[in-house]
């Protein structure tokens, strides 16, 4: 009777976290615009709210429920088991084995970050790149791994000696703010890396990166450029769009939209969606204001590498 409704339960970061909650919500919003469906969300204040929030969306109010973040993995699985007819999808989490009424959405972010690392290595003037994360957890460090490997690949191709500060893929240790909300940490950490000579930095800490962008804005892009993560940050941070060399896209909005579409078309099937370079679930954003600054041959190399990753002839981290 009533319109198709997609519901989202955020994790504790809230709907406006400039991170995965917001990006996933964008997927719902895009679907609302494109397919004319209803969308609503519930914010969780604490982890104890997950279950309660899921419960309050049951009873036929939602055609599909999107949950966000690995922390909601348990609550989603429990709810899905108790309500086998309800469709669910969870962002940034995969069940093994899969659950028939849940679609997990995960991303091979390192593929895209690899391209970003290669690009940055080609663009640096100081020969030093930087990265830092929010907390030392895989959804974060996978970006950093890819970034470092990409830069290393550039070194081995071009015989250069570009170094990446802030992450050591072997020891899995590096620079972390310890939070996903202190913007001025983002600024301070970028300043730290800049002081050590970095002129391109990739912050992997949600809104914290906005603080780094603020520093780049102040110093000027000759001194410091930023690589965004998750979404194309020229869109999410339009006022400082010019500091972003590019962004490592983790297209949660696209996968969320795909799940909603599937649910609408009755092609919904539990399992896993893996965002890759191949299916466009991850990728590199356009260079926007740096379109002219990036040399054509570098662009070409990146396209080549992308193709090599897609066809499997190049493995990351080798």
């Amino acid at each position: 009777a009533s319109a198709f409704t997609a519901c989202q339960v955020t994790d504790t970061g809230g709907i406006d976290d400039a991170g995965f909650n917001q990006t996933a919500w964008k997927g719902v919003q895009d679907s609302m615009a494109e397919y004319g469906i209803e969308g609503r969300f519930l914010e969780s204040q604490a982890e104890a709210d997950y279950e309660a929030n899921l419960n309050s969306l049951l009873g036929g109010a939602c055609d599909v429920i999107i949950t966000v973040g690995f922390l909601m993995g348990d609550a989603t699985a429990t709810s899905a088991a108790a309500n086998p007819d309800q469709k669910y999808s969870i962002v940034d989490y995969a069940y093994d084995p899969t659950i028939p009424n849940v679609v997990g959405q995960v991303y091979a972010t390192d593929q895209a970050a690899f391209l970003a690392g290669y690009l940055a290595a080609g663009m640096t003037e100081t020969g030093v790149l930087g990265t830092f994360g929010g907390i030392n957890i895989p959804p974060v460090t996978v970006f950093m791994d890819g970034f470092v490997h990409g830069a290393n690949h550039y070194n081995s191709v071009h015989g250069t000696d570009v170094t990446v500060l802030g992450w050591n893929p072997e020891s899995q240790e590096g620079l972390f703010t310890g939070n996903f909300d202190s913007l001025d940490d983002g600024r301070a950490f970028a300043q730290n890396l800049y002081d050590e000579g970095a002129d391109i930095i990739m912050p992997v800490a949600g809104p914290v990166g906005l603080g780094s962008a603020s520093l780049a804005n102040e110093l000027g892009t000759d001194e410091l450029k930023i690589i965004g993560v998750d979404a194309d940050q020229t869109q999410t941070d339009p006022d400082r769009a010019h500091v972003y060399l590019t962004s490592v896209l983790k297209r949660m909005d696209a996968t969320v939209q795909a799940v909603i579409k599937a649910a609408m078309d009755d092609t919904f099937e539990g399992g896993l969606i893996v965002g890759t370079l191949e299916n466009g679930g991850v990728g590199l954003a356009p260079f926007h204001s740096f379109e002219d600054a990036v040399p054509a041959e570098l662009k070409a190399e990146i396209e080549e590498i992308k193709a090599a990753i897609i066809d499997g002839s190049l493995t990351i981290g080798g």
Partner: protein, 382 residues
Amino acid sequence: MMDGKDLKHVNEDMRKLLARAAFGRGDFEDLFVVPVFAVVAALVLGAVIMLATGVDLPTIGQSFVALAVGSFGSLNAVSETLTAAIPLVLAGLGLGLGFRAGLFNIGAEGQLLLGGTAAVIFTFSFPSLPFPVLMIFGLLAGALVGAAYASIAGILKATTGAHEVISTIMLNLISFRLLEYILRQPYIQREGRSDPISKSVPEAGQLPRLLDWFDPNLRLHAGVFVMLLAVVFVWWLLFRSKIGFAFRASGANPDAARYAGMRSGLVIVAAMATAGALAGLAGASQVQGVLGRASPGFSAQMGFDAIALALLGRSHPVGILFAGILFGGLEAGGRQMQVDAGVSIDLIGIIQALIIVFIAAPLLVRAIFPWGFRKETKGGKA
């Protein structure tokens, strides 16, 4: 020296001295009238804020209905309210006890976090233990670790005079990082998971749900008994036990306590440890009763909310129980408010703050609602 008549006289005097003062009208106003007005005033102000941010009147009405229904309006609401109250009351009891002993323990958050983590680790480490044993030992492990962590601040204060406000703030910050580290360790991290999440509490270690036979969504768990027991225990400890007497004496006048032969160092450490144990218990009850595992920040600011709670309950166990139920109700009702009216749950924080203001400053409530109160006698405490 004394003849019979005198003796009778003396007994008469003693009887008079032992007659307890009656429950006065002032007490009644402070305990019942003020809170009612406080809640009303806070809700009115909350509505004003909603209006100011562009929420329309029907939605505001809807929000308040949702708030009421979501907190106490159904069995599920009551269950949610009590479930939310359990860890808050437990941690609040610890803080209240600290206040009574003159200690301002800002560290409940960290103690709760590590206590809960310890409960998880203990329960999944001994999965073969049978049901009540594993559950009880899990709670004890939480309490013990909470106590140990709080004792650091206590010992520092007792031996070097380091101010507990500083050390507990720092210990909180340390505990956040420590938990991140712990959750990365292979023994603790859940198999097959790459994100920071611990293994699960086995069935036998969980606080059983009490009402799931009626409706599987009712989350109220046996922690509610732990909470009630703790209220009674803390009341007994503070007002009936010897050590509690020392706590209160040291809190009210440390010099006099020292002169009376109480060991201030010992009292500080003991009070901190007890407070920490209660906070640890709060963490354990949350993981064993609701969450089933530990993850970064599962404490969700409960340790800080508990400060407000303890103050609101005037550091009295029964007051804390009621304050906890009020907070739990606001939390559950606030969730309903979000679901039904789409109003951001952050509004609840504002209403909580306003209620505390009005309850903690009876003079303010009296100034706003002068007709609700008896006139004070002239020359009284103006």
